[in-house]
């Protein structure tokens, strides 16, 4: 007579595949997961509390540290919220610079995801190939903002620096190069049968479930819902560019993979047009009062970050500091569906599912 026993396994907070300090307590029967409970908060730094005592400009460096893989979008969402409250006019050139840096950041973020996801699945090389291209993007962003990861580039009313000489040309040259590398990625991974077997049908959910669980970004689009705030609720100057919303209809890890890879391509398209339309001259900083004091009231804006819908809520009392600042952090919302997806899967799928959600712990824990 064989006696089986359930086992409680503590995955994390230090585990090679949790991408940070994320802990998952799972109950397993053999390798089959019966129950899963995510435990978060190990990286909680209380950004929202700190921000209540800071001026708006001072908060921007803190936003860099939320989703540290795509800091530009975080910079933007805060500035955008304040600008919406104050109804500020942003100069053309600044808008273009914002779009270019944000899209570069989006590509970089997706590249990191691509590399680490394959690393989770046991392939070591894609990680290094992805970082080769990411390094070029980081160098570009470093040149314009002075930071490699925490850019602190955007300001309320514009951006900090104008593009240095020849920078736009460098971005222009990067686009075809990235396209070529993307084809290589396809050769290496996308057609790989082992990889396909690992991701197809894994972590599947329906469109309704995705909406119920407040998923956003690629996690939502992989169910076939064409929803991208850049297109559906255009902010900044996204309505000037033609690009497509990438979707897949499978709703599984493979769908999410496809969506992200296609998004790199669409971001390249946006970049191409933005670089083409880039105004020759102009200011990069709008007319902004010396001390930023949004009027009394509250605002909530949301934009599309690489990980989904990032939102910023500000309640202002008309002071230099926000009364209450709250970020809608997409990874935090996206991670909620994890326990539901894990039940009935085995250990290897756990990694594949967790990786496909694409979380950044800095963002989950705020």
């Amino acid at each position: 007579m064989i006696r089986t026993e359930e086992m409680l396994l503590n995955v994390g907070p230090q585990h090679p595949s949790t991408h940070g300090v994320f802990r998952l307590v799972i109950k397993i029967d053999g390798e089959m997961i019966i129950d899963a409970k995510p435990v978060i908060g190990y990286l909680h730094r209380g950004t929202e509390k700190i921000a209540e005592n800071l001026q708006y400009t001072q908060i921007i460096p803190y936003t860099d540290r939320l989703d540290y893989l795509a800091a530009m979008t975080n910079n933007y969402v805060l500035c955008h919220a304040v600008e919406t409250m104050m109804e500020l006019e942003i100069p053309e050139r600044a808008e273009y610079l914002r779009i270019i840096t944000m899209e570069l950041g989006r590509i970089a973020s997706h590249l990191v995801w691509w590399g680490t996801y394959l690393l989770d699945l046991g392939a070591t090389s894609p990680f290094l190939y992805a970082f080769r291209e990411r390094e070029m993007i980081i160098n570009l962003l470093n040149e314009i903002s002075g930071g490699r990861l925490t850019f602190n580039y955007m300001r309320v009313g514009g951006v900090k620096w104008d593009a240095p000489d020849g920078w736009i040309e460098k971005v222009k040259a990067f686009i075809p190069y990235m396209r070529e590398q993307l084809a290589g990625y396809g050769d290496l991974v996308t057609g790989n049968e082992i990889f396909l077997n690992r991701v197809k049908g894994i972590g599947q959910y329906t469109k309704e479930e995705a909406m119920d669980y407040s998923l956003s970004g690629a996690n939502l689009r992989c169910t076939g819902l064409a929803w991208d705030l850049r297109k559906n609720e255009p902010y900044s100057i996204y309505d000037r560019f033609s690009f497509e919303i990438c979707t897949a209809d499978t709703g599984d890890a493979w769908g999410r993979y496809q969506v992200r890879i296609q998004e790199i391509e669409q971001s390249l398209r946006i970049l191409e047009q933005a670089v083409e339309q880039f105004p020759e001259t102009g200011e990069v900083m709008g007319k902004v009062p010396k001390v930023i004091k949004p009027p009394k009231g509250e605002t909530f804006v949301r934009i599309e970050s690489p990980r989904g819908e990032i939102g910023c809520y500000i309640a202002s009392e008309g002071k230099k500091e926000p009364y209450r600042l709250k970020f809608r952090r997409p990874s935090f919302y996206n991670l909620q569906i994890l326990p539901k997806l894990l039940v009935g899967q085995n250990m290897a799928n756990l990694i594949a599912i967790l990786g496909a959600i694409d979380i950044v712990l800095g963002e989950v824990d705020g």
Partner: protein, 335 residues
Amino acid sequence: MIEGLLTSEATWLHFFIYFALTLLLLLIVLGFVTYAILAERKVMGFMQLRHGPNQVGGRWGLLQTVADVLKLLIKEDAIPRAADKPLFILAPVIAFTPAFMVLAIIPFTDRFQFADIGVGLLYYIAVSGITTVGIVTAGWASNNKYALMGAMRAAAQMISYEIPLVMSVIGVILLTGSMNLNDIVLAQESGWYILWQPIAFIVFFIAAVAELNRVPFDLAEAESELVAGYFVEYTGFRWAFFMLAEYVYMFAMSALITVVFLGGWLPLPYLGFIPGAVWFALKFMVVIFLLIWFRVTFPRIRADQLMEFGWKVLLPVAIANIFLTALLKEWINLF
């Protein structure tokens, strides 16, 4: 030469000569392990646009592995308190010994072989299976959940892949009519078995990679899932023993593939002036390179898919190959 020694009179002199030769092999193998690890890291580095080790021992990092081993030897020997201590200590030995034992029957050249057994191939497969026991022991004795899962995976994987491994070489045995490795090599003078038995080669190679626990079949370790699988609790020289076993086993398996499918020490036509040892080394290195190349490229297969592949694909194909070979043999004999 060595064969002569074995059957010769048992004198102290003969004993010492034999002992010295064994020591030589051990050194060769250890040297191989040292540089196989380096080669693997270098090739992986090159394929991943890195330089690989280049700090210790000049530009090529020739002393890197030596430095690593030294570091491992002076590391603290930590045994978890809750571990099953005797088994914990025994496990690396069980895993490591068979890897060396199988080397005895590999004919490196027509002269350099330690034991020419009639059932060499069978001996190899039988003895190499013991390694699994060592791995399962390690996983059990560590008293760690990840280690246990790794060990269970390893056991399941080894059992499933041993069968296609054996089945695939039956084709070769059928054609040779012998299980002696020397006979198998000599039978390939008319053409290597990779040409006559391509299906068997593919099945054997895949099963061999699985037996070696290498990517894409490295589920027992599965760094990203089980942290390090069965040796998660091992450190220092005990861990080094597992590593050593893994690479010696890789050495043995590559040698076996060279012997069984690539014609061992036999030269290519018209190139007979190059000594057999060089030929053996060349073919051997191709196999090693292939293993490393796979490791760089592929992601890991999932456990259930691995089982499915072993039982539903490899095994039927191997059996079909036996059937085909038998037909072929009958057909050739007809004429």
